[in-house]
Symmetry: D2
Subunit: 507 residues, 4 copies
């Protein structure tokens, strides 16, 4: 007889979801009973780590990834990491166990009283099935929701006694065998209209966002940019969980700043801005100004209806970013005869100084960076310098938390490495950032995951001190990390800790 | 001119809320600017730790305690710990920063899009003020909600530009100067009716729950029990975040088991059960049976309407537990002439064995326990043995997570110690539990908080293996912790790690 | 064998809930099968009417009242009326049917996808049971929540196939037999402190709110006022769903205005304001000013923690209003020797004019008002004049919608009359108000409910025109009701329609 | 200077949103001040009517339509109708006024305490702007969300003092001038794969759903069906708010039944089912069975990701229905040489009988139906007979509530007629249905809207009696409507009431 557990593992097999991340408790044990040999289970010692690993794995594998959490408090610990996954558009299937159905109305200990509500602000869809028989069906629905654009996390709460429930074929056979296709092109008229705007523009510019990478659209982006000799900017690093364009390409100009006024200044002089695969824009500090200079128009291409609807300026097209760029390049015909923009060299590495500058570390890292390497970054105050020094030329080579929640970097690096066993992952962390997910070092060791870690230590929350200056804040407590040393972190051949100068590192 | 910040710190002063726990980010800096000298700020390196410390402080000080988190992802990291605080009825004021008002509609990075929704399942009240001018007023409302029975966490989201807003007196003077009294007695008729039931009962029994301690009701509970020579049980340890009765008292019988059938068996033969300061009951595994034996009646006294409404059996009275016990004792008149129950001795400490039993450790701990000491416990598989070996005789001497979320113990111990500087806190942890909040060791060190830690290492999640046996689960992954050693934990004179035998420790 | 339906009707019997209001659909039929003879079912033709009738019945009977709605759209139609019930603190058990469990995951038609979310903002508690076996238990929990202070609506969603489910005794016998007591007194020290403040006050004043009536506290309020010769104001009519004090009593001064500045002016000169059974205050238009004059202090007594927490000024005590007033009166000892305030006569009825003034109608109504009569009022622009002309001397004689949602009056009048068959209900409506629940006339006729209706017609939304003047708004559409005549309303001996002058009627 | 009100009306103009439906209160007056001449305001006397009218207008005009409700209780009254609009995929902009910002924290009367939560289960997006300056921007975001597939209602709560706020150009100029394009094609490979499945199928069949009409896809559907000689079924009437195919076309076979087993039976023998513009499927009563017969495959084309994800069987493609059908027809090449299916004639009109059968009424209606006429239907027990007798041949000729909430029909008919002034709207209602929105007759009269109404009276809720038989329910109260006659409804030349036989009318 087929049980809910049997049907669920079969569903997972059909979607290639055979790596499960988790931190189990009593309410999850029935799912894990007789764990099948063709699956692997990766344990995190705190839920934020389990979710972060799954996020990295989902992004790098482009596949829905299952992370299994403990009921209420366990799920609660993961909420921040689920926020990150939503911002990263990582297709995560988050599940949590629930008390036995017979005990839920009594609110027995570990009842997840508002199970579906807990992650709701950050998941695309959530459910606790009305009947045990509906568990595989609910999981299948969840997987489709996670996969459809914009991809993102989903949630299912599962009473622990449901797993052994026996199913009739009508309850699961057709439900778990479905395929749902959601990649789309814009209507032909919309593509042609945009091509015409681009043809008529005197000084167009292209802004490449992270979803170009997620959609597999690097080639299309390069083709489009080269065909029209467009200068290319990366969307602001704050929202850039991936790279949308090879940053060592001669058309590449640099990374947009993350604030209203400065972006308008950088883009001033262009009459048409094409933004692909990014919100418009992931602003961060409040530096007021015009949204765009007079005379500048903007069109955004995004697979996320919310990004399209909420942009404060410009028109928008909602469709798959890669397919749309390809169609647009196709509609444009021959290359423009305009001059390509001058090549912008990265800033030189910082001079030697009394204390090592993070940029100097990154310049060294760039010089040693392994071929096909992947960087996972969470060193807030040196993000600009790393982006400036380490210009990556291959898709899927850079991961950052678009949501800004710390703890992502260390955890996600493990997930990325598991998804990309043939490429070396290098994880660059601030010492403060590392603390948010410090137990991930145990998972790295226990599962022999060969990520290389570089921890930059400056004995402070530098990014906060930078913000304090920006905001005119003095005398704030809690910004120094004087006693934070290696005693709290894993050590070993794969971890390098470097003491660097404090402060924001722009180059 | 008075700013929102000025009025807020004045509000905090009036409530004695001068210790602030937190993990700040850019959105919290404006609150922390020019941090007043009469306040102290205690930094946690991850939000779950900050909330856990505040939970311990709030419980031990019985005072509303402020914990300040970073916007969306920071708040998200704290959700599991907020769940614990709700279960513990800890009066926490949780705040999180929000993006500048001008950037919220653009969903700029770090906008907390659904700020009030995120912690909603677990807070009593939440708000993001409609105007900057309403921030102190919203915080005052929140503090009153946290204080009123049943106490618990509340939440306010504060746009970062609100702090410098200047206030008119009408907006804050009366709002921050209010007192709200919510401790209540039942109607006199209800007290008398219960006294009469108790007088007429042939074999009454008393079940003491954690809120007796929270309400300051140990004396009243002892008076009541002694006056009627009632045998006294502690409510199940699973929901027992405090002790409701001196466990070395001759009337004390032990701790109720945490399941339906077993509780009915223990209470069978009694015709009336008086439960005070506990839900009825904090069940945990599903061991079916009658809720009570035939002929057993039950009356619960609780300050929590939800506990009263959701109990599956018995009558309930909603009022302050301490005041009600005192009134009931007063109404009962002379002592019963019935025989007191026989004294139940704690189980003997386990015999010596090849590997050290946790109970043996706890027996040793009991023998060395400092006078006036406080234990904060999070060692799931040895909770019964600690309760059995270490019988505490003073209020406010025991803290445990009623919600069961791990990470509480290590963090809360620091908060308890800060609230009770004159008493020695001993924190007993499982090695797995410790990992959920491992960075709290940094705070202990950085702030020189003199908690003593005892970590029991058995190289596994023993509680899960015990549950697996209970549920007939075999072959589950993720239950062993082979490589988890001191390299991941702080070391030093105040930390003792002991290798113990695996498995559940009942004695 | 006992089914869910059997146990549910037994539960209802135990709580005296044998009158059910509703508007059924296919998902509710299984509950209604073989409807028991000792129950009565009152049909409304739209859900807002069914809820409004139940609200009136619940308030007048002081008993939890069941209203049974159709799944999603039916429940949706009732949300506005549930808002009113919450504002009125009416203990309503709202239930709605849900699709068969087997069809819910498919979202078959009439699935209530977010059943518990729909009424959530306005109910105290909501639930859809995890198992069919838990339905009676869930309903019992709901009834306790509705009953506990502050009383209010609760919600349970019930899959239609659950009703025939057979129950084991352990699932329902003890669950449906429970009693929960929640009426409380403040701690003795709080009562004494308030008595002392009152004794020391030079010019105290008493503000009587609607919950005095709901709590059965008229006698205690009169005793307190007389003992201290306190002048008595009614809290603003906008939030006054009941009367808290006999309005023909010599100490009665009138009704407070509903705005910040004007209230402070009325209360200026008093050094202590005691408010009982009202929020502080149900303000309505924005007329700024000081919350209270300098030198005026305020203490509120309320059974609603939210009212206590959110008040912008003054101290608060949370406890049963009637019990607290009684205790306070008891603690005060001998009467004050101060002079009673001068008697305030109601304003004279308006002079004759070209078009009949509403106040003239109300003066006539007062002259003819039946002994023991009850007025249910929903004539927004003439509320002040009715309160001014018709001064009622018996508890439970006046019902108004504290929330301000129209449609309450006509519907609630039927519910009040069914709950008070021995007293004549007179329902005074504006012609516009009547339209929000116009089909209630059918229920009145079909069930021969002897309410007398008085409809005042002025061919406009007068209250809106008054507000437009207040707000300086000109040229707004939609404020006239020119063609609204009896063709749309029931006619007959029990309905009187009177054409009156347009405009706000203050006297 | 430009105010929030100015910018808002300008935004509405740009989207052609110059007809506003509503039921205003004091909190909406500031929006309506100096109402512009180029707008029209249509007043409903209860909110469900206002929303229903807007729903009909939005569907018929295919344009986002604004409905303006009163704060909390007014919005609450509209929730059921908003549920309908969501099911109908009607692009509604629902707004409600909110108290003055200064009074919100005090919860002054008419504060919409959880404004965004109230309609949340049924709107695609909701917001209450953080600043007055963001109101036009929030409304623009809302309009884009409502327009993007799947279309549906959205909500914005607006504090009443925001309307007069003066704006800087940066706050509104670019925000209100945006265009967002969301109509999409599937990836070319998906179209080709489906074409190939269709080419290889031996016995394919086409199921036409309501969104074909909404997307303007009748021609494409006819082209596809004719090219492959596909028999065509309408998706079940229960979810069919529009017609997806001309029902007098020779390939049209009839309407699918609304239950699991019966649908599988009708489709048995086909090896491939193409469903377009419908959920799979809008089941209604629970008649179990296989989802599809063995050997039957299914592919659904829908613009609604939720429909695609939740279908219990078959594959799905998410894209615009009209564009996809057009592309699919294009990819199919020459017509099949298979025989077209035999023509299915509508059932004959019922014989004469003692009491008039609804089908006989519909047959007469069909014989008299005006050219280009539109039917709006809400006569639950005679839906099948109307669909059977009245086969419509023009797009946009039929409207029904996909959600099943009553009150839609009468209200929506007015909205449809206002949107389609050149076509005659005929509204067919049951007498019970009419009561849910009976005050809409006033709006019809006051605005001289020339809808013709046909009310069928059978003195009962026939659909419920039919369900009662289906479910084996006897003795249920509340199913008869004995005294419901014209005294409660409008009368006049445009209203015909017909007494018909009770019971379900299938033909």
């Amino acid at each position: 007889m087929t049980t809910v557990r049997d049907a669920t593992f079969e569903l997972f097999r059909r979607h290639g979801m055979t790596t499960i991340f988790g931190n189990p408790g009593s309410t999850e044990l029935p799912m894990l009973a007789n764990f099948p040999d063709d699956f692997r289970y990766v344990l995190g010692l705190q839920e934020a780590v389990a979710v972060g690993m799954a996020d990295g794995f989902a992004q790098a594998s482009r596949r829905v990834t299952h992370v299994n959490l403990h009921t209420a408090p366990g799920l609660g610990n993961g909420v921040g990491a689920i926020f990150n996954a939503r911002a990263n558009k990582a297709p995560l299937l988050v599940t949590a166990g629930q008390q036995t159905r017979a005990l839920v109305s009594m609110q027995a200990n570990l009842t997840n009283r508002d199970a579906v509500e807990v992650p709701k602000p950050y998941v695309k869809w959530g459910n606790e099935p009305t009947r045990a028989a509906d568990v595989p069906y609910a999981l299948a629905q969840a997987i489709h929701h996670a996969s459809l654009p914009p991809r993102g996390p989903v949630f299912v709460s599962i009473p622990m006694d449901d797993w052994a429930h026996e199913l009739a074929p009508v309850d699961y056979e057709r439900q778990i065998a479905r395929g749902v296709a959601g990649r789309t092109l814009p209507a032909a008229s919309a593509v042609e209209a945009l091509a015409e705007r681009l043809r008529s523009a005197a000084r167009p510019v292209f802004v490449a966002g992270p979803d170009i990478d997620a959609a597999g659209g690097w080639d299309a982006a390069v083709e489009l940019a080269e065909r029209r000799r467009l200068p290319v900017w990366a969307s602001p690093a704050t929202g850039g969980n991936r790279l949308g364009f090879p940053e060592d390409h001669p058309l590449f100009q640099g990374v947009l700043p993350p604030a209203v006024g400065p972006i308008a200044e950088v883009l001033a002089g262009h009459d048409l801005v094409i933004v692909a695969g990014s919100s418009v824009f992931p602003y961060y500090p409040n530096i007021p100004g015009d949204l765009l200079a007079a005379g500048t128009e903007l069109v955004a291409i995004t697979s996320d209806p919310d990004e399209a609807a909420r942009a404060p300026m410009g028109d928008a097209i909602v469709a798959d970013v890669a397919l749309t760029l390809r169609a647009l390049a196709g509609a444009l015909g021959d290359a423009a005869d305009r001059e390509p923009p001058p090549v912008r060299e990265p800033a030189p590495a910082p001079e030697e100084a009394e204390r090592l500058a993070p940029g100097a570390v990154h310049a060294t890292l760039a010089s040693l960076f392994p071929d096909g390497g992947i960087v996972v970054l969470e060193s807030p105050s040196s993000t600009p310098s790393l982006r400036n020094q380490l210009r990556l030329s291959r898709p899927g080579s850079y991961y950052f938390s678009a949501g800004g929640g710390l703890g992502f970097g260390l955890s996600a690096a493990l997930g990325v490495q598991l998804a990309e066993p043939g490429r070396q992952v290098v994880c660059v962390l601030g010492e403060g950032s590392a603390q948010y997910a410090i137990t991930a070092f145990w998972t790295a060791a226990a599962y022999a995951i060969p990520v290389k870690f570089l921890v930059l230590r400056n004995s402070e929350y530098s990014i906060l001190k930078w913000f304090a200056t920006l905001e005119g804040v003095e005398g704030a407590p809690g910004l120094d990390l004087p006693a934070l040393d290696g005693a709290l972190t894993a050590d070993g051949p794969r971890l390098v800790q470097v003491d660097v100068a404090p402060g924001m590192a722009l180059v």
